[in-house]
Amino acid sequence: MNCYLGVDIGSVSSNFVLIDNEHHLIKKVYIRTQGNPVKAIKEGFSELTDEITQQGITINGVGTTGSGRYLSAVLLGADVIKNEITAHAVAAAHLYPDVKTIIEIGGQDSKIIILKNGIVNDFAMNTVCAAGTGSFLDQQASRLNIDISDFGRRAVLSRQAVRIAGRCGVFAESDMIHKQQMGYPMDDIIMGLCEALVRNYLNNVGKGKKIESPVVFQGGVAANAGLRKAFAKILGMPVNIPEHYDVMGAIGAAMLAMEKMQCSRDNNTQFRGDEFILQGSFKTSSHECQGCPNICEVVCIKRDREILAYWGDRCKKWENSLNEKNHAV
């Protein structure tokens, strides 16, 4: 069977999907990045290999997205390297052809994407503030000593959400502590946090954007039932959650890879093969280049002894040195 691999390496989670020619999802892997994307890529891919060998899958193309898209492209070999906005929009527009608004909340950033006739017409991402993102909820959950997976379940039990300031994460936290001391029930506080996050999102990210139905809510945070409820309540319209809401970016990347491979004349994928990923040991190292006062932190990615990539150098001295070497070979 011919499949396409989509990889979305984010700040919190790393997602892998295999889709077939008909856009059916064959396998998805969702793991936490835990600050080590190289390890996450290896682990995620090795989880896929069982499926690949059992079903006799050939990978015809690879697409990467997420903030680690360049890293994963180096490790796996990618045909398409796409930003998250486009990847999410492509996946959502395929599932819901008439979608007008996509709400995507990830670990460190949140986005709103406005579509017109299935094409991205406008988008916004959170600015320097991370108050309206998943990591804020993660933090508050651990402060309340609740598992993040229980967070949503507890939230929907609430009958009367407590009002918590949503403008800033720091204020929200002190507000929450205050409400705790006053003796408000935990479930109501949790729901209050969900509503605060939604208000923050709409004020910050959705500022000035016209949110029209149908709305699709995706990203890892969409798992949270409390947030789903809060969005539906505050927006006053139904909110659709795709079946694979947590890996939509990866699905979009896979679809873009498929699209590219099917339209290009030669069908040679850049995919480096499972042996390359699973057999080698990957190391990253960094050093400060002393070539000029910019003192760039240059990152080097190695497979065993072979240097795969350099980046971080502003003048591209290191990056280009690799190309020259490759041409010489």
Binding site: V90, I119, V120, K260
Partner: protein, 328 residues
């Protein structure tokens, strides 16, 4: 005598004027290096916390000059560069802020530029500064006039598509060439001292050019048309740069050749918190993106936004990279 000019803030708009002025008076002009990590680190160490990023970087430039053998450092006090319009108040207090904050500061040449009512006071101050070098008033006035002429030469270069900072580089004798390959025309707005500083702006202009965009900035547009557009706002914007930005944004919004507009603002910029909002509301016809920058060095956020913006423009216009797409 050696005079140091820090390569920050209004260097990016006025350097040819002051360099010519001091050279004609017989001084040797030295500049700090283009903003690099050391400049930023030195600046953050010594600047007041509330200042915006470009001001902090300016501290770094001044400190770099303080380590050299110089007789003076030139720090102008910019209040107003045109009739009834003003520069951000932080520029008004710049020499004082630096004197208070930097114990190692070398002797400073201050020059107050305030032509909000008339240029009488500026003329007096030019003579006062010139007298540090010579007693010949005619020579001082000629040097200033020569400086203005050189500056307008630079500004003329902007009409060829170079931004004012690039025009200054060319004026200094460097060779620059703009890539002829592009399929998108993007207007990029922001205060020149952040936009044209490669480190502060994370090189946004070059990044866009690498993504096959032709970049337009305020100086490359017809200045009279900018003024006409800016006059549409019910109350006159009294910040010089702010008015230029509003006018340029409306200009770009109403001309077909532009595919999209990006506004680059510094976190903590007072005027931008207002001007950015005005522009965001007034731009009706073109995709608009607001990018905020500060001290952080993570470039991923910037890259993602620029890539997504270009993708969106290309897909909207039906221009695809190297293959035909069937989706949004």
């Amino acid at each position: 005598m050696r005079v140091g000019i820090p390569k920050g803030l209004f260097y990016h708009y006025y350097f040819p004027l002051w360099k010519t002025f001091f050279q004609d008076l017989g001084a040797e002009v030295v500049t700090s290096a283009a903003t690099n990590r050391r400049t930023v680190e030195r600046g953050i160490e010594s600047a007041v916390d509330e200042a915006c990023f470009p001001i902090k970087v300016y501290y770094g430039h001044v400190r770099e000059l303080c380590r050299q053998k110089l007789d003076y450092i030139f720090i102008p006090r910019l209040v107003s560069v045109e009739y009834r319009s003003y520069i951000c108040p932080k520029f008004m207090g710049l020499p004082d802020m630096l004197k208070a904050g930097l114990p190692e500061l070398l002797p400073v040449i201050e020059l107050t530029v305030d032509v909000s009512k008339n240029d009488r006071q500026l003329k007096q101050d030019i003579i006062r500064v010139g007298k540090i070098f010579t007693n010949n008033k005619n020579q001082i006035n000629r040097a200033y006039q020569h400086g203005l002429d050189e500056l307008s030469k630079c500004k003329n270069l902007c009409r060829e598509g170079y931004n004012i900072s690039e025009a200054i580089q060319i004026w200094e004798g460097e060779q620059l060439e703009l890539s002829p390959n592009y399929d998108l025309n993007i207007g990029v707005l922001g205060h020149g001292y952040s936009l044209y500083d490669h480190t502060i702006s994370m090189n946004i202009i070059e990044r866009l050019r690498k993504m096959d965009c032709r970049v337009f900035v305020a100086e490359t547009l017809d200045q009279e048309e900018i003024e006409r557009q800016a006059a549409q706002i019910p109350k006159k914007v009294f910040w010089t740069l702010g008015r230029m930005m509003v006018g340029s944004a409306l200009y770009m919004d109403s001309h077909d050749q532009f595919d999209g507009i990006i506004y680059l603002a510094c976190f903590g910029c007072g005027p931008d918190s207002m001007i950015g909002e005005v522009i965001e509301r007034k731009v009706k016809n073109k995709p608009f993106m607001f990018i905020t920058i500060d001290e952080h060095t993570g470039e991923a956020g910037m890259v993602t936004r620029l890539e997504a913006f270009c993708d969106m423009l290309r897909r909207r216009a039906g221009k695809y990279e190297d293959y035909i797409s069937s989706y949004g």
